[in-house]
């Protein structure tokens, strides 16, 4: 299972507590994880990436294994600890704003 940590506002929107565990078929990439996340929680569609272009929203970041993966290609494999469920993929709202 792939572990995903959502920012608090998206946890409330999806009505989940704590981490989300997702079954991701095939290669574990950003796109595959987000596809599985949005399929399980349709309310999250459009809040992390654009509905049509699939571009990450500007103030969202993807972290894992102490790395910023935000600028990696969406079809690049995620680090092995994420793919094997040892580490979570962190979806983070940038610290900014009033």
């Amino acid at each position: 299972m792939i572990r995903v940590v959502l920012p608090v506002h998206l946890r409330r929107l999806a009505q989940v507590d704590g981490e989300v565990a997702l079954d991701v078929p095939g290669p574990v990439t950003q796109r595959a994880v987000l596809d599985a996340l949005e399929a399980r929680y349709p309310a999250l569609r459009g809040t992390i990436r654009d509905h049509v272009t699939q571009q990450r929203r500007p103030f969202i970041r993807f972290f894992a294994c102490e790395q910023d993966l935000s600028h990696d290609p969406p079809d690049a494999p995620l680090p092995d600890p994420v793919a094997t469920g040892r580490e979570p993929l962190l979806i983070v709202g940038a610290m900014a704003g009033g």
């Binding site: 506002h9 998206l10 929107l13 309310a43 459009g46 809040t47 049509v52 929203r57 103030f59 709202g93």
Partner: protein, 371 residues
């Protein structure tokens, strides 16, 4: 006895205020969607327990929420606002063409005729309609496509479609207003549109009486007389007696003809309300005195309503969607400020009191009169 429900959108969440018909004690429920900007909430006139809310965030974009129980519980519905076809461009601040980009929903207007239909006014300016209770949205692209769209420019607050007025006697007639493009009307249910800005004069644009380019802030209509419209423009309070075909200024003796809100009394079509604001760019009440102005003559002659409102050191703003009236007798009038107060008058404006006073900055106020 009737009840009143006031729906308040703020910079950091939504609040639902309720009272009985006396309107002297209020229950405050909220915040709903804490931390999100709630640009607008509005209930269906056909099913008052069905509410819609525009929930938006710089981080997470747009969410539309729907309640079926008067705001106690909510569920997210559709949030995909895709412009019809190739979106094209409008003018950017520097005069260059800029692609239309969806940013947020400013205003939600449930249909007067069909409980499943609701309209959304969005930034970048466009009108969307849902026929399935907000699950899916389709653009009424005849508005952007009527010809002047490429020449529209954003105002300082963004290029937003902020006002949607439905004609209660003609379900095919829809009015919309855009900053900074002007007022528009459709007579065929939103398929085709034309500008209705004749008589508006705006000093901040190269041609003061141009067909489009006017910074309209808000339009009000009395349901009994839908051909009469009242407008608060960036400067000037205006009136039309022919459904927007022509406008004339009715600012009269107002201390400032700038402001954002305008609304009509529920039972007296010639009684209207504005809140004068000082501008350029100060955007607070003149002389630090928060005054509602009431005209009982459909404009032109105005009286200051001050009882219960701060008359010194008050520097809040009242934004365009932040005034509403109830349908009781006497008519209740409500408005919210950027200082977080919601003021109410249960006697058509004679006396005011804050029904809640320490909310986040108020973006919108709507009122439902319930049996």
């Amino acid at each position: 006895m009737s009840r009143v429900r006031v729906l308040v959108g703020t910079r950091k969440g939504a609040f639902v205020l309720t009272s009985d018909g006396k309107r002297d004690t209020w229950d405050v429920d909220g915040p709903h969607f804490g931390g999100w900007e709630i640009y607008h909430l509005k209930g269906s006139p056909l099913n008052p327990d069905r509410l819609y809310a525009s929930q938006t965030s710089g981080w997470f974009g747009q969410v539309v929420q729907r309640s079926e129980d008067g705001g106690r519980t909510w569920e997210p519905v559709g949030n995909q606002f895709a412009y019809d076809g190739v979106p094209g461009t409008h003018q950017w601040y520097d005069g260059t063409p800029h692609p239309w980009e969806f940013k947020r929903v400013w205003h939600l207007e449930p249909s007067l005729a069909d409980p499943q239909t609701v309209y959304a006014g969005v930034e970048d300016a466009a009108l969307f309609r849902s026929a399935d209770g907000g699950q899916t949205w389709q653009e009424l692209s005849g508005l952007r496509g009527h010809g002047s769209g490429p020449h529209w420019q954003p105002g300082a607050g963004g290029m937003c479609l902020h006002t949607i007025v439905l004609d209660p006697k003609d379900p095919r007639r829809v009015f919309a207003a855009i900053s900074a493009a002007g007022a528009f009307r459709s007579d065929d249910g939103g398929t085709t549109w034309r500008p209705i800005n004749r008589g508006l004069k705006s000093e901040g644009i190269p041609d003061p009486d141009a067909e489009v380019g006017h910074c309209v802030h808000r339009i009000a209509m009395h349901a009994s007389r839908p051909q009469v419209l009242f407008m608060q423009k960036h400067w000037d309070v205006m009136r039309s007696d022919d459904a927007g075909e022509s406008w004339r200024e009715v600012s009269g003796n107002l201390p400032s003809d700038f402001g954002f809100v305008i609304d009509a009394h529920a039972h007296e079509p010639e009684t209207i309300y504005v809140i004068p604001i000082k501008s350029d760019s100060e955007h607070y009440p003149p002389e630090g005195k928060l005054r509602v102005y009431r005209s009982r003559t459909g404009g032109g002659e105005w009286e200051a309503l001050t009882k219960g409102l701060p008359q010194q050191d008050c520097y809040v703003n009242v934004l365009r969607d932040a005034m509403a009236v109830d349908a009781l007798d006497p008519c209740g009038v409500y408005f919210g400020t950027t200082g977080g107060q919601v003021y109410a008058s249960a006697d058509a404006g004679d006396r005011w009191s804050p029904i809640v006073r320490d909310l986040p900055a108020v973006l919108s106020v709507e009122v439902q009169t319930l049996p």
